[in-house]
Symmetry: C2
Subunit: 248 residues, 2 copies
Amino acid sequence: MRYKAIIAYDGKDFAGFQSQENQRTVQAEIEKVLTRLNSHEPVILQGSGRTDSGVHALAQVIHFDLKGVARDLERLRFALDTQTPEDIAVHSVEQVADDWHARFEPHEKIYEYLLENGRVRSPFKRHYQAFFRYRLDEKPMQEAMARLIGTHDFTGFTASGSSVDDKVRTITRAELIKTGEDSYKFIFRGNGFLYKQVRNMVGTVLKIGNGRMPVEQIDKILESKNRDLAGPTAAAEGLYLREVIYDK
Amino acid sequence: MRYKAIIAYDGKDFAGFQSQENQRTVQAEIEKVLTRLNSHEPVILQGSGRTDSGVHALAQVIHFDLKGVARDLERLRFALDTQTPEDIAVHSVEQVADDWHARFEPHEKIYEYLLENGRVRSPFKRHYQAFFRYRLDEKPMQEAMARLIGTHDFTGFTASGSSVDDKVRTITRAELIKTGEDSYKFIFRGNGFLYKQVRNMVGTVLKIGNGRMPVEQIDKILESKNRDLAGPTAAAEGLYLREVIYDK
């Protein structure tokens, strides 16, 4: 039987979502519990995509197969939620078709990036939002965000060494919200994001907001595909995978 | 010169506020920096009171003396804020009279206790609010909170082994606010709180909210001064020293 689950995790103490030898990962921690629940036969789970080291998820989607009869879904959810470490939460479990696939099923993703722009960094948010001590002007940041919307080759915003060939992606929403006197939320929705793309876009928008880069450079980065023209990669602790939205 | 500072700290990785040998404490971390700023002559700071291991502060007040001429206050604040570890923040520094004392100057304190009462514990809040998985009825909790207001001998709500003789304290505000579908904030204001008093009051109110203790037991605990009649000590991670309010 195949199951789909919606999970949240605090990325702080994980070397990312995907399993890597000798590293603490979200996938490995959940697979340990799934294997116990599967009479100790190994279970490999699939996520909708990876998240990097230190990046959080509010609603990552995974799927996995368990042998035997259909499980009681709330009991399965409770077992996964309480048997995984406390930096992983399991919000829901449902049964899906045997060929349903968290990654290959067409979907869009929403990422959020939380930023504190105050004078004093909150000790309580230091792992849960990024901190930028310097001046930020909202207007050029809003203009820069608007220029990211659309179908573009995002090569200039991905980390070098990425193994994906086709770097054309569509961003349908790029919104900057002032959530408080000293805080911002960046929201990106799209059909896929390249390695470190969101953090590179945020780092570039911050450089523009700080007046050290003109708004038009967004277009130049997209046209030239030149990573060197973009801003630095924004810190991982501000980034959240907010939602995975499957077609229909 | 004497200075007063308002500081915040994430209590998670501290063995409380007050210095203890071979333990990481807020006081010791700040004193290390103050001593550097005082030409390496040791500085002892005074807080408005202690907070226990794991308890947070949004606005703890301290005072300390630095030799030499009056310092530039924003430079002093910035030095303290940036040279202390990132789980301590320094919000303000001002100069005060040489006999001003953070603890002995008459004051009231406000404590807040944050509680999540959901089905799934948020990974992001696990160190910053307490979690209670079981049913809570708001009405009896509100009634219990109201009975705590006033001048009482709070012996029944303090931990045994407390060294304070006079256990009469006045609570001027005890309020329960439903801050979300699954979350509560308890607010207590008073002229002083005994060791573990707030967490014992919260633990008792939760037991009442869960239907395992009648509301009237609050009065019995106050009258009998019997700690065994009260509920368990609520977890440290929900508790915040919110404000220290000095007279005039």
